[in-house]
Amino acid sequence: MGVNATRAADDRRALISLQGVSKEFAPGQVVLDDISAELPRGEFLALIGPSGCGKSTLLKLIAGLISPSAGSLCVGGGAPSASEGKLGFVFQDANLLPWLDIRDNVALPLKLAGLPRAQRDERAEAMLEMVGLSHALGRYPRELSGGMKMRVSIARALATQPEILLLDEPFGALDEMTRDSLNEELLRLRELQGWTGVFVTHSVAEAVFLASRIMVLSANPGRIHALLDIDLPYPRTAHTRTDGDYHAYLTEVTRSLHSVGGHD
C-alpha cells in the first residue's frame, strides 16, 4: 500500500519542472527568458517556434549539457546534470559514430555505463529489433539511409530504458513519407515503454500528431507564447491524420505560430 501511495504522489508531481529558466550565452543576449513549465509523467511535449528562438538550448538545459543563467530546473527529482541513465537524447541528424557498427552504436550508452559486453549486445539487439533493424546489426552508418540512421539513433536513446526522452528535430531531414511512418513508430514505442518526452520540430503536423501538449515559443528573447493541450486520444494512428479535431488543432497551432512570425 505504502509503495502505491508513493507512486501516486510521484505521478502527480512533475517529472520535469522548469521555474523561471533564462539563458544568455553572452551578457545582454537573452536567448531564453523566464520559461516555466511542469511536465507530469507521460507528457509528450512539442517545442515549436521560429528558428533561433532557443528550442535546442532548452533541450540542452533539460539534458544538463548547459546550465541556466537564472531560474531552476528539476529533472526526475534532481538536478539535470545528475539525470544520466534516466534520460535519452535523440540528436539532430542521427549523430552516430561512423567507426562502430549499428549494434555497437546502440550499445554505446550501455558501454559508457559499464555494462558487460554480453548484456550490452543482448539489449542493443532487442532495441534494434524493436525499431525493425534486426537485419542490419553488423552494418556501418555510412551504409544506411537517413531514415534507418534515425531509427538507430532512437534505438540508442532508448537502450538505457530512460524515463525521459529528448528529441531535437529528429525527422527534420527526412522525406514526408519516411517522417510519417517514423512518427507512428515513435508513438508505438512510447505506448510500449511509457517514457515522458520533449521534442523539437519545425512541422506543425508532426507536433499535433505526436504531442500531448505544444509549447509555442517566440524569438528574441525566447518566451513561451502559448501552451496548447492536444486532446486527441492515444493511440494515434494514420487515421488520426484525417480526423476533424486533428485539423482544427493544425489550424490553431499554425495561427499561434504565425503570430510569433514562425511560419515557414
Binding site: K60, A63, G64, L65, E84, G85, L87, F89, F91, Q92, D93, N95, L97, P98, W99, L100, L108, P109, K111, L112, A113, Y140, P141, R142, E143, T160
Partner: protein, 266 residues
C-alpha cells in the same frame, strides 16, 4: 573476378609503358649526345655495378632500414603519447605546442652537430635525427584529430555521463585515426630522408655498420657513379616499403567505416 584482374593489369600497363619509353630516351640521349659515364651511366651499367657492390648495398640497406625503424617507431610512440597529453589538457596544449612548433622551425641540419655531441657517431644520433624529422607531422596531425571531434558527438558522450578517459578512448582516438594516418604517411615518406641524412653526418665507416647514406658518401668520393645510381634505387626501396606498409595499415584500420575507402555500389 576477370574484371578485377583486368583492372590490376591496366594499372600496371601504363607505368610499364612510360618506364620503357623513359629507358629508351635514356639510351638514346646517352648514345647520341655522347654523355660520359661519370655524368650519366647507362641503365645496364647501373645494374652491373649494383650487383658488383651487392653485399655493400645490401648491408647498407639493412642498416638504414634498422635506423628507419628505430626513428619511425620512437617518433610514432612519442608523438602519439604527446598528442594524447596535449588533447587531455588545454593548458598543456597552449603551454607546450608553441615549443614543438619552435623545434619544428629549427632545421635539423643545424641541430645535427649538437645531436652528435650528445649521442655520438652512429645509430644513436641517426635515430634521433630520424625521430626529429618524423615527429612533427605525427604530432601535428594527431593533435588536430584529437581536438576536432564532432560537437554533436561530444554532447552525446556528455549526455551519457562519459568520463574524460572514456571520451578519449571511445570518441577522440577513433575520430583522430584518419588524421593520425595522414601524419603517419607523411612521416613514412620522411623516414628514409632522416635516416639517410643522419647517415651522411653521423654514419660509421666500416662493414656492416655502414648505412646506405654512408655508402653513398664513399661511392661519391670514389667517383663510382653507376654504383651511386644503384644506391639511389636501393634507397627508393626503403621509401616504398614504409609508405606501402603504412597505406596497408591505414586501409586495415579505416576501410570499414571511413569515406575515403567507400566503395561504389556498396
Amino acid at each position: 573476378m576477370a574484371r578485377r584482374m583486368n583492372g590490376i593489369l591496366a594499372s600496371f600497363t601504363w607505368p610499364l609503358v612510360v618506364g620503357l619509353l623513359f629507358l629508351g630516351v635514356w639510351y638514346a640521349a646517352v648514345t647520341w649526345l655522347d654523355i660520359p659515364e661519370y655524368q650519366l651511366p647507362l641503365p645496364h651499367r647501373i645494374l652491373e655495378e649494383g650487383v658488383k657492390e651487392g653485399p655493400t648495398l645490401w648491408s647498407g640497406l639493412l642498416q638504414t632500414t634498422y635506423a628507419c625503424l628505430l626513428g619511425f617507431f620512437t617518433s610514432v610512440a612519442g608523438g602519439v603519447v604527446l598528442s594524447v597529453m596535449l588533447a587531455l589538457s588545454d593548458i598543456a596544449y597552449r603551454g607546450i605546442y608553441p615549443y614543438i612548433l619552435m623545434l619544428k622551425m629549427t632545421p635539423v641540419i643545424v641541430l645535427a652537430p649538437i645531436i652528435i655531441i650528445w649521442f655520438g657517431q652512429g645509430i644513436g644520433s641517426i635515430t634521433v635525427i630520424t625521430f626529429l624529422i618524423c615527429f612533427f607531422p605525427i604530432v601535428a596531425n594527431t593533435t588536430m584529430g584529437l581536438r576536432s571531434a564532432d560537437r554533436g558527438l561530444v554532447d552525446l558522450f556528455r549526455v551519457y555521463g562519459a568520463s574524460r578517459w572514456q571520451a578519449m578512448l571511445h570518441l577522440r582516438i577513433p575520430a583522430a585515426l584518419p588524421y593520425f594516418f595522414t601524419g603517419l604517411k607523411i612521416a613514412a615518406a620522411l623516414t628514409p630522408i632522416g635516416a639517410l641524412y643522419g647517415d651522411t653526418v653521423a654514419g660509421m665507416g666500416s662493414g656492416a655498420d655502414a648505412g646506405l647514406g654512408f655508402v653513398v658518401v664513399i661511392f661519391s668520393s670514389q667517383l663510382k657513379v653507376p654504383a651511386l645510381f644503384a644506391a639511389a634505387f636501393t634507397a627508393c626501396a626503403i621509401g616504398f616499403l614504409f609508405v606501402g606498409l603504412v597505406n596497408l595499415l591505414s586501409w586495415w584500420a579505416l576501410h570499414r567505416w571511413h569515406d575515403a575507402y567507400q566503395q561504389e555500389g556498396n
